[in-house]
Point group: C2
Chain length 430, copies 2
């Protein structure tokens, strides 16, 4: 049996394009993993009629589950709780346990902002403790509780899961909502799927498309596998969802991909390069030297908790003086080869090794644009060096596509992959 769902993203700031929605895509992936068939995502502003119209539309389309995000704050334009309660025919009632919980959450905030009107804050937040009769409240990760709201007794229609707008809160509260009886009842009877993901780096998406055509030809068919490929941050992700009997077909496809893309395939279990590098860095002491990426690589290496165990530090040597003064790059080397050159990248890595007493260093220098490009070194031209104290050394350069933001981001991705190759001892070309 197929279970169909819809997502309603609310918020005038999302509808108006002021902030881009992260909840729709995140929820879409969660529903997909659960074997729920997402039919529609709709986005509306903080307007009662529009929100009602979207709920009505999705109910008429026959979905069994609707997930809403946003509109749970304390202000008057936060309407979702009210609209959903009306839509499901369940009157709002004050949940005094929840009111007390929210009060405890707000206590430290009110201490910090002593000039706040205490009663006004509690009054505004009382609204957040209103729960439709018979609905299941979900404890807040911020200050706004979530809700799982089935239709009123005797009514037909979708169960509505009401989540707050801030992605961190929504993501923390979602698993709790999924575990509720009301949620499980709404999605009962859906098929069980297996999920797999391969990650590849260093080949265009069209190569994977070609491999899939070859697979269909050689294996007869890929029936039973729901395959998607996706280009993300310069990597190709090949994902499949399938019911358990198709597992052998998947295994065969995976073998074929591994055979055809031996060097590009770096992950068979879906783990990304960041996680792999973090694991591989155990016992190492790594430093960075960055120019065009301006600190993004250091920031990426320290994104994970516990990174202080292996990350010594980094230098953002944006100016030539900084390259010389902080990393000891010979200024005549810069004069001879230019600040963006393989030679300077290597000297930067040498400097980082020495200054941080590290055993591994990664250096990046490049032209992020939009200005500063030349015919020989156009915008997007970037040089990397990964060097270790045990004689490891990779130096690479290439021209990356995209705008300033993309070039900077892609440069850190290439750096992560070069670092990974050094750490696993791969000698293959990137």
């Amino acid at each position: 049996m197929t279970v169909r769902a819809g997502i309603v993203v609310t918020g005038t700031e999302v509808l108006s394009g002021k902030i881009s929605d992260r909840n729709g895509p995140w929820l879409a992936e969660r529903l997909f993993e659960m074997g729920i068939d997402l039919a529609h995502i709709t986005i509306c502003g903080d307007r009662r009629e529009d929100m009602e119209a979207q709920l009505r539309f999705l109910a008429d389309e026959g979905v069994q589950l609707i997930v809403t995000s946003g509109g749970l704050g304390p202000t008057a334009d936060d309407l979702t709780g009210e609209v959903v309660a009306d839509f499901q025919g369940r009157p709002l009632e004050l949940d005094s346990d929840m009111e007390a919980k929210i009060g405890r959450i707000l206590e430290p905030l009110m201490k910090r902002f002593q000039h706040l009107d205490r009663d006004a804050v509690l009054e505004a937040n009382r609204k957040q403790a209103l729960v439709p009769r018979g609905a299941t409240p979900i404890d807040p990760a911020g200050t706004a509780p979530g809700l799982v709201v089935p239709p009123a007794e005797g009514r037909e229609g979708p169960t509505i899961v009401v989540m707050p707008g801030p992605p961190r809160e929504l993501q923390a509260m979602w698993p709790v909502a999924v575990e509720t009886d009301a949620f499980q009842a709404a999605v009962a009877g859906r098929p069980t799927y297996e999920e797999r993901m391969l990650r590849l780096f260093g080949i265009p998406e069209s190569e994977i498309a070609e491999t899939l055509r070859v697979a269909e030809r050689e294996m007869g068919s890929l029936d039973g596998l729901e395959i998607t490929t996706c280009l993300r941050r310069g990597e190709v992700e090949l994902s499949a969802r399938f019911e358990p009997p198709a597992e052998a077909t998947w295994d065969e496809l995976e073998r074929l991909v591994a055979e055809r893309h031996q060097h590009a395939l770096y992950s068979r279990d879906g783990t990304g390069v960041d996680a792999q590098v973090a694991d591989l860095l155990a016992g190492h002491w790594v430093a960075t030297a960055e120019s065009c990426t301006g600190g993004l690589l250091a920031a990426r290496l320290t994104e994970r908790p516990g990174s202080s165990a292996y990350f010594a530090g980094g230098v953002v040597s944006y100016s030539n003086e900084a390259k010389s003064e902080l990393l000891g790059v010979d200024s005549s080397l810069i004069e001879r080869h230019g600040a963006v050159s393989k030679e300077v990248a290597e000297a930067m890595a040498d400097g980082a090794l020495a200054r941080f007493e590290a055993d591994l260093a990664v250096a990046i220098t490049g032209v992020a644009g939009p200005g500063g490009g030349t015919e020989a070194k156009p915008v997007g031209y970037v040089c990397w060096c990964v060097k270790g104290t045990n004689g490891e050394c990779i130096v690479r350069d290439t021209v990356l596509p995209g705008d300033r933001v993309e070039i900077r981001d892609r440069s850190t991705t290439v750096a992560m992959h070069l670092l990974r190759r050094v750490l696993v001892g791969e000698k293959a070309p990137l």
Copy 2:
């Protein structure tokens, strides 16, 4: 008269969350600027029934304009032209001028990829030259033409603007579509709006909500102003859209906000702190010293083209050794006060000033978590110092809410605001 619109974003890869939609937000901003009231954005996969259902929904909601993106390619799952033609009751007909144009666009492509089957390509692309009878075709920016499709003669309903999915193509073709008679007829009689935005830092959203309540009480009403508040990256944005006669109401509201939130209100024209700091840094030479933010502040300061004119460089001194070795922070100071302390923040700023020969330095040290917190210095405790060679010096500490990602990001926002205050010579507390 209000003109209402809807946007239909098509594409299974967008619906599934694999790629994030950039067309909805972009079109939303264009419609808003034109004074067209966007009511709904809907996203569906490449499924005929779902696309039809969304068009039907929007038509039933009474919108006068629908803009679709995606589904105009040559392959079988590109359905938009067909679905829209059916929906508007206008049969598809081959536009031979358009066919010739597409042929000329494909010519160089076919020369480059000699192995392509010429007839197959032309056949596939003939599909893209099909135009609903009486619709206005829009010349392609890639290979797919757009369409402006009014309802068939004698029918009621919205005019549908059909645009390709690739953002670059859509953005190039949109102005042409807007200029067509069919588009202008559909949106005739819309009002002209003014737009304003205030940005505030250092107060919770609930304070603004309270100010809006006070404004309503004191000013009688805020009728005529369409107000939204939005919390973004730790700042509060207060936006309003209004027809020209309501300008005086806005001015009064702005005065009230400025009076009540004198120190928090930092932008009356919508410019963000990054843009303001970039302007203010002209003629300066700034350096950073970061611990918990791991390079994010340097990355943020170098996000803009031209930042090399004022950004000298930065040190990510993640380890204590790096703080001492690269920034000259006295190790006894670290022992006495701890690496996360106002004293060490100031010493890091001193070090950055000296090492980069800068005239301004920003230092951050804190506990980003999830581990490493103590009772005295819990997760989220962060210290900043902004120091200049002309005696400017601000040192601050606070406990930031959120998880590791948010604490790191928020820390850079606070740093940007402290830097701004030093640059404009404000002495007020943050």
